[in-house]
């Protein structure tokens, strides 16, 4: 006995299962927001228990498209990210799996160091081209290089400025590269990193506020786009050979309201009141599983209805 509806729903279920297994989510996940948690004091040590416990956003990374000359393996990776602020500092905790720590050594001629980078639009209200911006919409980048170097860079802006403007900003009058190291006074990012259990755990932090015209302002109450990149040195990754993410959103909470002395609330209580809860956001895989689950439920319902009608007809 042909039951087209049953067959169709079964096919749908199989399809969704197959897609889920292939890692293609049926439902497109809304790009997750990284919500910086408001804390008393930003933990700067990547081994701090706070970072282990705090929920993290899974950032999906995929190899950047590179054509000849440099073809290499395309793969996807996951970077786990959390952020926290105490009203004066903001810190990112970045954690990813890397089978070998690649750190420059004396005579390490074939060592390519592991690296991670966070990219922001220089102007928070813009959404630049994901591959390191354009002249019109430059990006601000913090690059961490194993074991402990943090560089504040700017990309895209170089060719859009007059030599005088560039010199005023502390850059060389003529750009030598699309990605440029900012002058020492704009080097506001710091890093602490540790390699343990087959993973790099890196805390990158900087003061809130605006410091240099080519460094993104990060202030309480702001939402700003953010993207990530990881280089795995053991695979000879450097430069454009890296894996990158899409744009995500970073939301920085409002700083706690200045204490009103009349209320006479203790400090701990104030903090308790304003502590925001960071949500766990399902990654692509979670969404795929959810899709499969929904399809299974749909299938069950349809089959049940069909059976119900057929039984009625027989009697």
């Amino acid at each position: 006995m042909a039951r087209p509806a049953t067959l169709a729903s079964a096919a749908l279920l199989l399809l969704s299962l197959a897609l889920a297994l292939a890692g293609i989510p049926l439902t497109t996940a809304q790009v997750a927001t990284i919500e910086a948690a408001l804390v008393d004091e930003v933990p700067l040590d990547p081994r701090d228990p706070y970072w282990a416990e705090t929920p993290k956003v899974d950032i999906a990374l995929a190899s950047q498209q590179v054509t000849y000359l440099v073809p290499y393996e395309v793969e996807s990776r996951t970077l786990r990210v959390a952020a926290a602020t105490d009203g004066s500092l903001i810190a990112f905790y970045l954690e990813w799996e890397d089978p070998s720590p690649d750190v420059p050594t004396a005579g390490g001629l074939d060592v390519f160091e592991d690296k991670v980078a966070i990219q922001f639009p220089v102007r928070a209200d813009s959404l630049p081209y994901i591959c390191m911006g354009t002249v019109e919409e430059p990006v601000s980048i913090v690059l961490w290089r194993a074991p402990d170097t943090a560089e504040t860079l700017v990309a895209g802006s170089g060719y859009g400025m007059r030599p005088e403007e560039r010199e005023a900003l502390g850059l060389q009058s003529v750009p030598t590269s699309p990605v440029e190291l900012l002058p020492p006074e704009a080097q506001i990012w710091r890093a602490n990193a540790v390699y343990e259990d087959g993973r790099w755990k890196v805390v990158l932090y900087r003061p809130l506020g605006s410091t240099h015209p080519l460094v993104t302002e990060l202030s309480p109450g702001m939402e700003v786009s953010v993207a990530f990149a990881v280089w795995e040195g053991s695979k000879g990754e450097a430069g454009s050979k890296k894996s990158t993410s899409a744009w995500y959103t970073l939301s920085i909470p409002e700083a706690p309201a200045p204490e009103v002395p009349a209320e006479a609330v203790t400090v701990t209580e104030t903090v308790e009141t304003f502590k925001t809860v960071t949500e766990t956001v399902l990654g692509d895989w979670g969404m795929a599983a959810l899709g499969a689950l929904l399809a299974a439920m749909l299938y069950t319902v349809i089959v049940a209805i069909l059976y119900f009608y057929q039984r009625q007809r027989r009697t």
Partner: protein
């Protein structure tokens, strides 16, 4: 478009393997942390594995170009080839010399132990640049020489058959540099005025694609600065009309520096030539500086007058193009290297015959191939992409010039009578005099025009699809 290239010829017969070139180069340019292992100029013993070990093995390191579907493609594949490591070069070492002074009085002689320049720890020296000098360990290093692939390896490790010569190497400042093509940051550039290939240290970020792409492994990664560096042909000296340090200090006077004019439009054509034609086509694109048409075009293309004048007296032009006695190193890498080598003259295995004369089978001036100590095949593999005819031609001319002077000086023939041996090999009396002056006396080895910075030299045109196009 006519361009000028500052270029070098090394006459291998005269190299005594003293390494003065390497040492002076090191003292001037690479005597600093990060480049302890790097020898912009190095001297290798051949047959042998060279520096870094087996650098000629393309299966191991890649580099250079290959022609695929009529297009030049970089031989660089990141999954397969890797950049040379510390083990491929060597671990630089020094000695604990202080201990010679501070050691307490003992019955044994005081000794300075080797220590690593990286860790400072005591090490056992395993390898060094030119460690295989004087055939030490030849039973291992000779068969490992990639140029021995086509030869009876075992035979040439036997004492009576062994041969050796020195091979000094610098960056070849190629016309079609693969290091330049591989750099995604455009840090590597070829100076339009004199063709010297340089790495812009402000642009370089140490991706080391140039290290992989250079088939001669003449780009060195500086682990201290995280950037790559290479031989700069002592350009600050060249600009002042002075020879590079390696050439200046060469004890054997083996190095000749001069300018050649070449046809830039035909560079790709020359790089794509069939293997056996590579040397011939590279010679073709070197232009005759005496040709008025070439001079006119050179002036039109902004080549300064003093460069054109220097090109007329350039030993490189004569040895590579006119006399065809100099050959490029591994032309099959298709980078069109612009440092040339006059192959070693190849002593003949002779014996005194019963009449007390040396007996060797001569085919006019060149002994028959099997009598040559250095197999032609070996030299052809190194200097002519396997084309033995090119090597034979060069050797014949070198022998002819010696035979000519022997006939004049020993047999007492007049120059005109002796000229027969020159003519047989396509040389003239004038050539003989010039060759004698350059090769034997070592006069005027450097003909270097000073830089004309006041003249704006146009940058090479950027064509669409330039990559291998």
């Amino acid at each position: 478009m006519v361009r000028a290239q500052v270029s070098m010829v090394m006459v291998l017969d005269k190299c005594i393997g003293c390494h003065t070139c390497s040492i002076t180069c090191k003292n001037v340019w690479t005597n600093r942390e990060g480049l302890e292992y790097a020898w912009w100029n190095n001297v290798e013993t051949r047959p042998g594995v060279g520096y870094p070990k087996r650098w000629e093995d393309q299966e191991r390191y890649g580099g250079g170009w290959v022609v695929r579907d009529g297009k030049l493609r970089l031989r660089i594949e990141l999954k397969k080839y890797k950049v040379p490591s510390k083990d491929d070069y060597y671990e630089p070492f020094t000695y604990t010399y202080e201990e010679l002074f501070t050691e307490e009085l003992r019955s044994e002689q005081p000794s300075a132990d080797p220590i690593s320049m990286y860790s400072g720890e005591k090490i056992e020296i395993q390898w060094g640049p030119n460690f295989d000098d004087d055939l030490a360990g030849g039973d291992l290093t000779i068969p490992a020489d990639p140029n021995m692939a086509l030869l009876e390896k075992a035979m040439y490790t036997e004492f009576k058959n062994v041969f050796m010569f020195y091979l000094p190497r610098i960056c070849n400042h190629c016309l079609n540099p693969s290091c330049l093509a591989a750099c995604p940051r455009k840090s590597v550039y070829k100076r339009p005025e004199d063709g010297i290939v340089l790495i812009d240290q402000t642009r370089c970020r140490g991706y080391r694609l140039c290290v992989q792409a250079c088939p001669y492994k003449k780009v060195y990664y500086n682990w201290k600065t995280g950037k790559s560096e290479k031989c700069i042909f002592c350009f600050p000296r060249i600009e002042q009309g002075q020879p590079p340090v390696c050439a200046l200090t060469c004890v054997g006077k083996i190095r000749y520096v001069g300018v050649v004019l070449y046809d830039e439009e035909r560079v790709l054509e020359a790089a794509k030539a069939p293997e056996s034609e590579l040397v011939r086509v590279q010679r073709e694109i070197i232009l005759d500086p005496w040709d008025p048409e070439v001079q006119r075009q050179a002036r039109r293309d902004g080549v300064p007058e003093n460069f054109i004048e220097a090109a007329k007296r350039s030993p490189v032009y004569y040895m590579f193009k006119k006399w065809e006695i100099a050959l490029p190193l591994h032309p099959e890498f298709r980078t069109l290297p612009m440092v040339f080598y006059v192959p070693p003259l190849n002593p003949v295995l002779t014996v005194l015959d019963k009449s007390g004369k040396f007996s060797a089978d001569y085919d006019t001036v060149l002994p028959t191939i099997d009598k040559l100590r250095i197999p032609i095949k070996y030299l052809a593999s190194m200097f002519a992409a396997g084309n033995e005819e090119e090597v034979r031609k060069a050797l014949k001319r070198l022998l002819a010039i010696r035979e000519f002077f022997r006939l004049v000086e020993v047999e007492g023939l007049s120059k005109r009578e002796a000229a027969r041996v020159l003519e047989e090999n396509g040389l003239t009396l004038e050539d003989a005099d010039l060759m004698f002056r350059w090769l034997a006396l070592g006069r005027e080895r450097y003909v270097i025009p000073t830089a004309k910075k006041e003249l704006r030299i146009r940058l090479p045109s950027r064509r669409r699809g330039g990559m291998g196009g």
